[in-house]
């Protein structure tokens, strides 16, 4: 059912549009509603005027995107920031989506629990933004992706329909998993307003081991093949040019950082196993220092405005082999997570082993296999079903990805 708008948009949209520029272009209106009913009222009013809407979280990534073709109204969701329910014995949390990742982390740390979502600039990144962007950081292997952690969501469609799917319990197969579908939807299917997540216990102990690696060693697949079965928390490759930003440099062309997290006896055993195969690290960080490094590694995702992001089934640094010649000197690769960010605008030959999942400020080329065409058509039908008025402005942009 579409909500009836009771007030004109100009009365509801009182935020400063200049703060919500995308690719340098500001919308005509901006609003920062504090209640979900207000969001529903706002989008219903916008629907009457056929306005193009972009939902905003913390604005970590959006300002760098290309300006959408139509962009009338920014809906800033950061005022919807309540934690609705957190029962530590349930290891679940329900919160409004404008709450920042850092706020949630602080709250959970007191209970020795972790929010299993990673995002660049966690102090600004919101829960909704992390879900909509399908955020994935170094510890992806340990946590899975947002869809692995989301239990349910409440959301508003662009026509003002307010709905939910899933729930707050850890097992639930009643109804379609629209909450999972919204992961990675980048604000072009719905405005995600509230989500329930499955939490994780915080690890007792963390270690980050930094290795100095030259090009030949990096691409030696056999050298790293032991790592996936050891189940490290992360294995991240950082090119030398980016290491200043993380405050840890091996001094070599590449730094490979192996993260281990669990109870102390197991971490000690893993560390010994790593040392046995690839020797002693040039640097070693523990606990809070290692945790802070993980966030800086996640922040690297936003190192430059021009960025291409890939996913690959290759789960060790050796996966970079086929692309090494054109990688350039600014990239970060979270190996077991299979996620590679390459910065800059230089041309990049993409082998079949890599799938591009995002590009901004750099050229794009459509995948034209029959299956990809079919998937694109399916996405378009889903978009038409959930946002028939094409009000969610970023949708057009992603249709051809």
């Amino acid at each position: 059912m579409t909500q009836a708008a009771t007030r004109p948009l100009a009365e509801l949209a009182t935020a400063d549009p200049a703060r919500y520029a995308i690719g340098g272009a500001a919308p005509r209106f901006a609003a920062r509603p504090a209640l979900r009913e207000a969001v529903v009222e706002l989008v219903a009013a916008a629907a009457l005027d056929r306005l193009a809407i972009v939902p905003w979280g913390g604005g970590v990534a959006l300002p760098h995107e290309t300006t959408p073709g139509r962009y009338d109204l920014a809906v800033d969701l950061t005022a919807l920031d309540r934690v609705i329910e957190h029962d530590p014995e349930d290891q679940t949390l329900t919160a409004e989506c404008g709450v920042t990742i850092a706020t949630l982390r602080r709250r959970l740390a007191a209970h020795r629990q972790e929010l299993p979502l990673e995002a660049a600039h966690a102090d600004r990144a919101t829960l909704g933004g992390a879900l909509a962007a399908n955020a994935s950081g170094p510890r992806r292997l340990r946590f899975g992706s947002p869809r692995d952690r989301i239990l349910g969501a409440r959301f508003a469609l662009a026509d003002g329909t307010f709905a939910r799917s899933g729930g707050k319990v850890v097992k639930n197969v009643a109804g379609y998993g629209i909450h999972r579908l919204l992961c990675g939807s980048r604000g072009w299917l719905a405005l995600i307003l509230e989500a329930s997540l499955k939490l994780a216990p915080a690890p007792e102990h963390r270690v980050a081991l930094v290795y100095a690696v030259d090009r030949a060693t990096l691409l030696d697949g056999a050298r790293w093949a032991f790592l996936p079965r050891l189940e490290p928390a992360f294995v991240t490759v950082v090119s030398e040019a980016l290491t200043r930003a993380i405050g840890v440099s091996s001094g070599a062309a590449f730094s490979v950082i192996v993260g281990l997290e669990d109870d102390r006896p197991w971490v000690a055993q893993q560390e010994a196993a790593v040392a046995k195969v690839i020797g002693a690290p040039v640097a070693r960080l523990e606990d809070d220092e290692a945790g802070a490094l993980v966030q800086r590694l996640a922040d690297l995702e936003e190192a430059d405005a021009a960025r291409r992001t890939f996913t690959t089934r290759g789960n060790t640094p050796g996966a970079l082999g086929p692309i090494a010649a054109s990688l350039g000197d600014r990239f970060v690769f979270h190996a077991p997570a299979g996620r590679l960010h390459v910065f800059g605008e230089r041309p990049l030959a993409t082998p079949a082993s890599l799938t591009r999942i995002d590009a901004r400020g750099a050229g794009t080329a459509a995948d034209t296999t029959a299956s990809a065409t079919g998937v694109t058509a399916l996405r378009a039908r889903i978009r038409a079903a959930l946002d028939p008025g094409k009000a969610l402005a970023l949708g057009d942009r992603w249709t051809g990805m």
């Binding site: 399908n134 709905a163 990675g184």
Partner: protein, 485 residues
């Protein structure tokens, strides 16, 4: 529309003579899944061998608006694989191969008819396994598991089916073939595979499935505790979770269940315990001692009378045999029982169980409980004399009240078996009309023509309450594990 001899000839041309079953006997065999109350004879059963054959079949059916109901092993308890509107049952039983295995990337492509346990057995020599282990895993298929997003005792630690599926090749309702997700951990844009998994064959038919594999845990410890109150057992579960321990499994059986199992199998389970709590931890050997100790301390603090730790694989297998035989034990003795699959937040387990017993008691009925305590996933069995229509009606009423209680407690009506036919009327009590309308819009985007498993999941106009899975009066072999819950 009944199928004509011409139709059958066309199907044989598409799938070969041995890929089409139309005899009365065959149709009778496929008239229901494990929800035996809902019987609907399909007009024909087809047994394709490949994605191309499924695509050809779906195109053929759509052109004639003949419903297609996909089916794995038929162990589902919600009627999801029953051809409610007749037409075609598409059995994936001949699509049972592993197509490709990549040991380094720890993934495999399999066909949907591959039996869950057979997959892990094939992987065992490589030190790998497929984690989701629904209790039906000896017979249920990966395709059926994908359709229901199946769980199992070990999903407490490892997650449910969709957490272990990287990608699926699916046939859409128009017969086109698309790959959703893939071998990499992510795919561009929003998560289509996540929407299809658990959709009970109503959005698309999975024909090739890329499963994520895990290294086999180095060590396993299986513990058994006995409590004089079920509440204490539930509190032990909460205490373990709150302590940051994630066991592989935490299962509770009540006294009623334990007695039935002991009467049958004589495994040495404590008959006088109000609740038996089974906790299993797995992982690196070096981590487990401390976990076992901590869990034991919580159990003692909450009054466990004994702690039994399996000494070897044989004892571990015996303990699990007890747990997995519960279904068979009920079937052996009760003349009828309804099984539910509700979920409550795990912190409300004790309250929820008390309510289950109360709801049955006021109706003069017995109830037994065996459930995935770590997940809050209850499987109450409401027992009745199947010859007594009034008792059966009271049992049905009790089962609906139990699911309503799950909703009221902040839970859900199905944790792992799906909605199918059985629970779709309860969807109206779980969700608001707008929620269901949005789900219907999504279904329309995938499958607008009502050919793919029509009528399932979403309540239609005029749907009454259907009964949950009713079992009973079964003849159970002594070596059977009754592996369905």
């Amino acid at each position: 529309m009944p199928l004509t001899p011409v139709h059958l000839d066309e199907l044989r041309a598409l799938l070969g003579a041995d890929g089409v079953l139309a005899s009365e006997a065959a149709r009778f065999t496929y008239e229901a899944d494990a929800l035996a109350l809902e019987k609907h004879m399909p007009d024909v059963i087809v047994l394709p061998r490949s994605t191309d054959e499924v695509a050809a079949l779906v195109r053929w059916a759509r052109a004639r608006r003949i419903p297609v109901t996909p089916r794995g092993a038929g162990t589902g308890l919600a009627g999801g694989a029953t051809a409610e509107h007749g037409g075609i049952v598409l059995s994936v039983n001949r699509m049972d191969r592993m197509l490709r295995l990549d040991v380094d990337a720890m993934l495999a492509w399999v066909q949907p008819g591959l039996v869950n346990l057979a997959l892990s057995q094939q992987l065992a020599p490589l030190g790998l396994y497929y984690a989701p282990d629904p209790a039906s895993q000896q017979v249920s298929t990966i395709g059926g598991n994908v359709a229901t997003n199946a769980g199992g005792p070990h999903c407490l630690k490892y997650g449910v089916t969709f957490n272990h599926i990287l990608g699926v090749v699916v046939v859409l309702e128009d017969g086109s073939v698309v790959t959703l997700g893939g071998e990499a951990p992510d795919s561009p844009d929003f998560d289509l595979a996540g929407a299809v998994i658990g959709s009970e064959g109503t959005l698309a038919i999975a024909t090739e499935i890329c499963v994520r594999l895990l290294p086999r845990p180095e060590a396993v410890k299986t513990m058994l505790f006995d409590f004089t109150t079920i509440e204490a057992a539930c509190r032990a579960v909460s205490a373990v979770i709150a302590d940051g321990i994630v066991p592989a499994a935490m299962e509770i059986m009540d006294q009623h269940t334990t007695e039935l199992i002991e009467d049958w199998l004589h495994l040495g389970l404590p008959r006088d315990a109000a609740a038996v709590l089974l906790i299993e931890v797995d992982g690196p050997a070096v981590s487990l001692e401390a976990q076992v100790e901590k869990i034991g301390a919580h159990a003692r603090a909450l009054g466990t009378r004994s702690i039994r730790i399996a000494k070897d694989d044989a004892e571990r297998a015996a303990i699990w045999r007890g747990r997995k035989s519960a279904f068979g034990a009920y079937g052996r003795t009760a003349s009828g029982f309804y099984i539910m699959d509700g979920v409550v937040p795990r912190t409300r387990l004790a309250e929820a169980l008390a309510e289950v017993y109360r709801l049955c008691e006021v109706r003069g009925l017995d109830a037994g409980n065996v459930f995935h305590a770590g997940d809050g996933n209850l499987h109450p069995h409401v027992l009745f004399d199947a010859r007594d229509a009034a008792a059966q009606a009271r049992a049905l009423d009790a089962s609906h009240e139990i699911l309503r209680m799950c909703i009221r407690f902040g839970g859900t009506i199905s944790g792992e078996h799906g909605v199918g036919i059985e629970k779709r009327s309860m969807m109206r009590e779980l969700f608001a009309p707008d929620d269901l309308a949005v789900m219907a819009r999504l279904r329309g985007a995938f499958a607008p023509d009502g050919v793919l498993n029509p009528g399932k999941i979403l309540p239609g106009d005029g749907d009454g309450h259907s009964a949950p899975a009713q079992m009973g009066g079964m003849r159970v072999r002594d070596d059977a594990q009754g592996p369905w819950i």
